[in-house]
């Protein structure tokens, strides 16, 4: 059964996955962060016994419930897409992720179903302590739901703890701890969850700012803001630290991604970090044009970020595509040749096995193993195919970082005036607080664009390009489902905004 993949179909499948993942990611970070904030508010209620804190907790819990209900199961659509649009990929990684994802789904479902009910139905029916315990368990369960999917994503960016079985065409788990504790997976989880904490804190700050501007629920708004600002500030610090780890790991495991989001075409010693800049749209890989029309560069900072040494060498896109003997960097061109050898010997092994020629099978397998790490490169047509979209990676990364630097400053300002007790007089700050939740969503989505667009062309780093990960479907089929999903998710988002806006207008219930 010989079939050819249609590149247009591959792009539609990518667009569909991006669309559904980005919509899904509207609901998820708010659930991850807001669940903890609610638990903190309720903790203060339990400690003080002040009914105002209970009223406040119940209000944010209601908004949490709306977001949870609208967002629940939107991630399942991604799993539909794996089986239909990305069947080669699904088959190849099924051994690694199938069971853990299913177990996690069931475990998280029961944890959430049990304690979620206590959280919403149990206010007057269980003890205050058990109710608080349930609220924490919902927060814990929600965040636990994110573990395996982020470990899976981390594995795709840095495939460790597995071996490729050439008889079954599957990656098989060899060491589960190596997969879970891979530095990329750990950073992926901590960076994603901590940035979600910031997003949830800014969600609270935005809505509470609206209340302050409207001169409604002033005490409740001020209290909500102070706790959220502390949470947002701590979340921002953690996001910054894990973001630094992420960039450091990119330099080691995905240098092309790092070079793309920094717009670094030619590698250099003491490489500078671009604080802000405008890329030259005419610039192409391998040409001699300037990479930037203008830029503000922090000298040596990129070298320090990547290698923890100011004068160290950071490879650029051209080094990684064409190689750099002086710096001992193998280029994509050479890797493509090695990848083709791997494919050739995989084919020879397959034929030898079919013919029952064990001697030949052993010999060809041994050569395949030697070149296996370059397998994915064998599917690239030319070395330049190893370069991700530079402009999208660069601008997404810089939008994320700039906003990530703004958020803690906003939290500090709210915290300062909140502690001073003059928050309701600072109308400029309240106006500033209003758009923060939207900016937080922009930063969060931009982060995923950096992570996923920046690792193109790979579905699994160096081993499987996206073009080989797909199913052989017609473009029309994928186009149709793309539009169906676009419609469904837009309706869900509108439902979320409408229901939430109505509840915000109503405000917290009177005691």
């Amino acid at each position: 059964m010989m079939e050819n993949f249609d590149p247009t179909m591959v792009n539609w499948a990518r667009a569909q996955f991006a669309l559904t993942a980005m919509y899904h990611w509207i609901f998820v970070p708010l659930t991850l962060g807001l669940s903890w904030l609610i638990a903190f508010y309720e903790s203060i209620y339990l400690k003080t016994g002040n009914e105002e804190w209970k009223r406040l907790t119940k209000f944010w819990m209601k908004l949490f419930g709306i977001n949870f209900a609208i967002g629940v199961a939107t991630g399942i659509i991604l799993e539909f897409e794996f089986g239909t649009n990305w069947s080669n990929y699904s088959w190849m990684v099924g051994d690694i992720f199938g069971a853990p994802l299913a177990i996690e789904g069931i475990f998280a479902f029961f944890l959430e179903a049990t304690f979620f009910a206590v959280m919403f139905f149990g206010w007057e029916k269980v003890s205050k302590r058990f109710h608080l315990f349930s609220t924490y368990m919902v927060a814990f369960g929600s965040n636990l739901s994110a573990v395996w999917i982020l470990v899976a994503n981390g594995w795709m960016q840095n495939p460790v703890g597995m071996a490729f079985n050439p008889d079954t065409a599957r990656f098989e788990m060899q060491n589960i701890m190596e997969v879970i504790l891979s530095p990329v997976a750990v950073t992926k989880f901590t960076h994603t969850t901590s940035s979600s904490f910031v997003l949830a804190a800014l969600f609270v700050i935005s809505i509470a700012s609206l209340f302050l501007l409207q001169k409604r629920h002033i005490v409740m708004a001020k209290r909500s803001i102070v706790v959220a600002a502390v949470f947002g500030l701590l979340g921002s610090i953690l996001t910054g630290l894990t973001g630094d780890s992420s960039a450091y790991e990119n330099g080691f495991y995905q240098p092309m991604k790092l070079a793309a989001y920094e717009g670094l075409y030619d590698g250099e010693h003491g490489a500078g970090l671009i604080a802000v800049g405008k890329l030259n749209p005419q610039k192409k890989v391998g040409d001699s044009q300037e990479a930037f029309e203008f830029e503000v560069r922090i000298p040596g900072a990129l070298s320090f970020l990547t290698n923890r040494k100011f004068g160290s060498y950071v490879p650029g896109i051209n080094d990684l595509v064409y190689g750099n003997e002086q710096e001992n960097i193998m280029g994509a061109a050479e890797k493509i040749e090695k990848g083709k050898i791997a494919i050739r010997y995989l084919d020879a092994y397959k034929i030898a096995k079919k013919e029952g020629d064990e001697l030949q099978a052993t010999a060809t397998l041994s050569i395949f193993k030697e070149f296996e790490q370059y397998l994915g490169y064998g599917y690239l047509q030319k070395p330049e195919d190893a370069v991700p979209p530079v402009a999208l990676s660069f601008y997404s990364f810089h939008v994320m970082v700039i906003l990530g630097l703004l958020f803690p400053l906003v939290c500090i300002a709210f915290l300062y005036f909140g502690m001073k007790g003059t928050l309701e007089k600072q109308s400029w700050l309240q106006v500033l607080g209003l758009p923060m939740v939207f900016l937080a969503f922009v930063a969060s989505q931009a982060g995923w664009v950096v992570a996923e667009v920046g690792r193109q062309p790979w579905a699994i780093q160096d081993l499987l390009p996206v073009s080989m990960a797909t199913s052989n479907l017609s473009t029309e089929t994928v186009q149709l489902t793309f539009y169906l999903f676009a419609a469904l998710f837009t309706i869900l988002l509108l439902a979320e905004i409408t229901i939430m806006a109505k509840q915000i207008k109503i405000g917290p219930e009177e005691i």
């Binding site: 539909f80 069947s87 065409a169 494919i343 020879a348």
Partner: protein, 88 residues
């Protein structure tokens, strides 16, 4: 006997009443459950059923056939791009 039975049923009954009363007292929750229900019907009853069949599962009966198919896909460039054959 009846007392023992009631005692045994006590906890499940309390759980049942807890959920029943909780669902009955819902206001906003009823709207949200309707949204969830409609969403799940569309996702599983329409999208999954008609548009998202398992590609390999629906085309091949056994894992051996699926593995062979994926291996064919992975070694396709040997036949398509004339990159040469190994070990022959």
């Amino acid at each position: 006997m009846t007392e023992k039975l009631l005692k045994t049923l006590g906890i499940p009954l309390r759980i049942y009443h807890f959920y029943r009363d909780g669902f009955r007292s819902m206001t906003l929750g009823k709207t949200l459950w309707k949204v969830i229900f409609i969403k799940l019907v569309i996702m599983f009853g329409v999208l999954k059923l008609f548009f998202f069949q398992d590609f390999l599962g629906s085309r091949f009966a056994t894992d051996e056939e699926r593995a062979e198919y994926v291996l064919e896909q992975l070694t396709q460039p040997v036949h398509d791009q004339d990159i040469g054959r190994g070990g022959r």
